[in-house]
């Protein structure tokens, strides 16, 4: 019979004619052979137009959720991923130092020269005024211990260099102490007029500072530091330069300028004062910035400190990721940490191993329950389902704490074992605050996530398959093994993925019952987020965890096939 192999649709009715041929007969095909709608527009275009409104409406319906997910899920994740490489704090806080360091070579084995220290003095002075140097110190302290205290110490003392010059200038002439003198020396006449007219009470913004003509070429260093000062007090403190004594940094600048520049031809305001100082500076007690920094803390002479600064000067760094895999970015390049400092590799391996054990325990315990759920009569199955769902109605914390009560050395299980005489009172089993406790508690907590997908797959397997297998001669065991089990595998797959991914990122339960040997990588991430405040490292660890999950997911897809995963139907 020829029709036996044919499609039933073709057997059923007359074969429809070739639609293109029909269309040609109706003369609604254009030159390229495209189908045309009744009004002559291409059919595809016409169809797209008629579907557009529907698509738009559908988009509007999901828009609130889409927005919500973007704002609360996608954006934070993207931000987290970004934090794991972001490192702008060094170049933002010490821009001139970073630039100056480019000429320095760590391999030389010596601290950099004067210009780098000059730049550092500049940067650090400003950072100390902004109180940003401690943040940078903490950031770099993750990489080399001691930097934090070095920065704090130096930030406290950075005024001292300028103060020494300030004292000497003041000794020379009291006028150097006066804010107005400085303002007249540096500011233009017009600005002085505006600034004098400015009333603090009025609430008007401070007038824009204007440099006196020529002063920038006459006193370049002074000008630069004075501009920094004016800008800072204007924007940060809302103070008038007429009321504020300049920073000590300005005096250092003035000293440098007077040593280098000739002010004999200067004829502006306070020319005498300046010329008097110019004559006197040669006899000033002086100190180079390098000498100064070394006197504050001799660590500044250590090339390792500078090496760390240089290694972390780029805007993006691999340092956090290297840290997350027990390596570190040293001035010599990336390298493994010392044996006793490696913890993340161990934690990742432990997290993987325990998640796998938990997943397998869930499969072993969940499969029979799911089978019963799918095959018991409706009434018993409903009762069982309520029992399965019961844990969801109890707080996670309560369930975990209950395990603490059960498993601890003075707990229910140990008491029973001692009472039965199976365990001596002195040798009570240690079942909590270790891996065993975490595995037991987490298997219990994640079990419903295994049972539900398994159940929904099993409930779609008609009983007629097993019946058919039996009628074909298979024993109960064979029918289960060859027919039922293979069809329930998608449920196992779905449950395993769900449980494994949940387990790998689990935090609360390991935190409570894990002790030191049963904690997961997530506990370490939480520590860095909330205690050590090393968010970059936490982000790197989280990113690695995400990558591991994605890789496993991909591997699962390759081996088992994601089409074989069903959550139901």
């Amino acid at each position: 019979m020829s029709d036996a192999t044919a499609d039933p649709g073709k057997i059923e009715g007359p074969t429809p004619d070739d639609p293109l041929a029909q269309a040609k007969a109706l003369d609604n095909v254009d030159a390229q052979g495209r189908m045309l709608a009744a009004d002559g527009t291409p059919l595809k275009k016409s169809l797209a137009r008629s579907l557009r409104i529907q698509k738009l409406r559908a988009l509007m319906l999901i828009a609130p959720l889409l927005l919500f997910v973007l704002l609360t899920f996608v954006a934070p994740i993207a931000d987290m991923l970004f934090r794991s490489v972001e490192n702008q704090i060094v170049s933002d806080t010490l821009p001139r130092t970073v630039e100056a360091l480019q000429d320095w070579d760590y391999e030389s084995g010596e601290a950099p020269d004067e210009p780098v220290f000059d730049a550092l003095y500049d940067d650090l002075f400003l950072a100390a005024e902004r109180r940003e140097h401690t943040r940078l110190g903490s950031r770099l302290n993750y990489e080399t211990t001691g930097i934090s205290s070095l920065f704090r110490q130096t930030g406290r003392s950075v005024e001292d260099l300028g103060d020494a010059y300030l004292d000497q200038f003041e000794e020379l002439n009291e006028a150097w102490e006066e804010e107005v003198v400085w303002a007249e020396l540096m500011g233009s006449d017009q600005w002085l007029e505006e600034q004098r007219a400015w009333d603090e009470e009025s609430g008007d913004p401070l007038p824009e500072f204007q440099l006196r003509e020529g002063v920038a070429t006459l006193l370049p260093e002074t000008t630069r530091s004075f501009l920094n000062f004016v800008e800072f007090i204007r924007t940060e403190d809302q103070e008038s330069p007429l009321d504020e004594e300049p920073w000590s940094r300005v005096y250092t600048g003035l000293y440098t300028d007077l040593m280098n520049e000739d002010v004999a031809n200067y004829s502006g305001p306070h020319a005498e004062l300046l010329q008097e100082a110019d004559a006197a500076v040669a006899d000033f007690e002086t100190q180079t910035t390098k000498e100064f920094f070394l006197s504050v803390d001799e660590d500044w002479g250590d090339p390792r400190i500078w090496g760390t600064l240089e290694a972390f000067s780029p805007n993006y760094t691999s340092g956090y990721f290297l840290n997350a895999v027990d390596m570190q970015l040293t001035p010599e390049g990336a390298g493994l940490r010392d044996e006793d400092e490696r913890i993340y590799g161990l934690l990742f391996k432990r997290t993987m191993f325990m998640s796998l054990v938990i997943t397998f325990s869930c499969i072993l315990l969940g499969y029979p329950i799911a089978y019963l759920l799918a095959n018991l009569p409706m009434r018993s199955a409903n009762l069982l389902m309520i029992l399965v769902l019961l844990p969801f109605w109890t707080s996670l914390l309560v369930r975990t704490s209950a395990w603490k009560v059960m498993l601890q050395q003075q707990g229910v299980i140990n008491d029973v074992l001692v009472w039965l005489g199976l365990v001596g009172d002195a040798n009570r089993l240690v079942m909590i605050n270790n891996q065993f406790g975490t595995i037991v508690a987490m298997t219990h907590i994640l079990l419903p996530f295994m049972i539900l997908p398994m159940y929904s797959v099993m409930s779609t397997i008609p009983p007629s398959y097993v019946r058919a297998a039996k009628s074909l001669g298979a024993t109960n065991v064979t029918a289960f093994r060859r027919v039922y089990f293979p069809q329930s595998v998608p449920g196992i797959g779905a449950g395993s993925i769900l449980v494994f991914i949940l387990a790998i990122g689990y935090y609360i339960t390991p935190e409570i019952v894990g002790g030191t040997t049963g904690t997961f990588i997530s506990n370490r991430i939480a520590y860095h987020i909330s205690s050590s405040l090393n968010w970059g490292l936490a982000a790197a660890l989280g990113t690695i965890l995400l990558a591991v999950v994605l890789i496993l997911y991909w591997a699962y897809d390759r081996i088992v096939g994601i089409d074989n995963v069903k959550l139901g139907g």
Binding site: M1, D3, A4, T5, D7, P8, G9, I11, E12, P462, S464, Y465, R467, A468, A469, K470, S471, L472, G473, A474, T475, N476, T478, A479, R482, V483, P486, Q487
Partner: protein
């Protein structure tokens, strides 16, 4: 059915009862004997107990009472996989994770057959259902009719002598179903297997079976070859369930031999053949097949005729279907062949109708 017939029978149900809840019987006192090679259909409305009977035979349900025998041996306590009965399920139950060939090979594998022999048998079974080229496909890649063939081949591949089929064609469209009916019948005859076939489609039952068991209310209402079932129904359930049927209700006025007269509720009197009525004054329901009614009959001298008014004339191609109002009954159907000389009646016409007394069966009134 005598005792000797039952002891010779290949399949026998002896006083079988089945209850699921201990309160009601789904199958009531079932007795059935089938010789080897018979094609028996269990026909009945849903809930009549036919599928339960099949499941008891296959071993998926246990009889509450009575004995089921296969080839003379009681099988009540034999698990399904040891009964060696082939079965075709309503939704085919082809294992979706195996290819067609693996599906067919499964019963041979569990019997421990060698690989080469298995392959040979699978090939032969596939060829038997004209699906030789489909061994490598998955069931989901086949059409309904093709799946049906594979399910059939699978039930036959291990050379079961008894094959059970539970509404196997229910999911197919009409044309394919008719085609498969002949196909199944042909294969069953070729192989000489015994088939128990469950369906609720009477056409299917009539065209395929050697005998049909009409089930209702947990009992076999009539067990007979198709022609007998259609032409000589034993009670009014069978008469109404099988084929199209006109019924008129009345009281026996006179009875004797194989003739009786029935006074209809409208007062008209007709001739009939008594089937399960025995005495004067008993209420009866007479049954006349629409194609046995004649217009303007030229019957015997003392035959009764009825006056009918045409309500509707339906042209159906090969036949005309005329709806009449007869003896206060508006749904009286008459079928006539589309012959050149056949009169085409129009609504409103009045006409005399009649029939041979043996075509009009006086049955129980229930």
């Amino acid at each position: 059915m005598g005792t000797s017939a039952e002891s010779d029978a290949f399949v026998a149900f002896e006083r079988v009862q089945k209850s699921y809840d201990g309160e009601t019987l789904v199958v009531k006192d079932l007795n059935l004997a089938m010789p080897k090679g018979e094609f028996l259909t269990m026909l009945g409305p849903s809930g009549s107990g036919k599928t339960t009977c099949l499941m008891m035979l296959a071993g998926f349900e246990t009889a509450t009472h009575g004995e089921i025998k296969l080839d003379g041996k009681p099988i009540n306590n034999i698990p399904p996989h040891k009964r060696g009965i082939g079965m075709v399920f309503q939704n085919y139950a082809l294992f979706p994770h195996m290819t067609v060939a693996e599906n067919l090979s499964f019963p041979l594998e569990v019997r421990g057959m060698a690989k080469s022999e298995r392959e040979q048998k699978v090939k032969r079974a596939l060829e038997m259902v004209q699906m030789g080229a489909f061994g490598g496909r998955r069931p989901a890649q086949l059409s309904g009719g093709q799946q049906q063939r594979i399910a059939l081949a699978r039930a036959l591949v291990f050379e079961a002598e008894l094959v059970l089929m539970d509404e196997p064609l229910g999911a197919l469209d009409k044309q394919l179903r008719e085609h498969m009916q002949f196909e199944i019948k042909r294969i069953a005859d070729d192989l000489g297997i015994t088939v128990v076939y469950v369906t609720h489609d009477q056409t299917e039952a009539l065209t395929m079976s050697d005998r049909v068991a009409v089930f209702d209310d947990g009992r076999i209402q009539q067990l007979a070859p198709p022609d007998e079932l259609y032409e000589a129904p034993q009670n009014s359930f069978v008469a109404q369930f099988i084929g199209e049927n006109n019924t008129l209700e009345g009281v026996i006025e006179e009875i004797g031999g194989n003739r009786c007269t029935v006074k209809l509720d409208s007062g008209d009197v007709i001739d009939a053949m008594p089937v399960n009525v025995s005495q004067k004054g008993e209420r009866t329901r007479v049954s006349i097949r629409p194609e046995r009614v004649e217009f303007n009959p030229e019957l015997g001298p003392d035959a009764h005729t009825l006056t009918a008014e045409v309500r509707e004339f339906i042209y159906m191609g090969d036949v005309f279907r005329t709806r009449l109002s007869v003896a206060g009954h508006d749904e009286f159907i008459v079928k006539t062949r589309n012959r050149a000389d056949q009169k085409r009646l129009s609504p409103g016409e009045t006409i005399q109708i009649g029939w041979l007394p043996e075509d009009c069966r006086a049955l129980d009134a229930s």
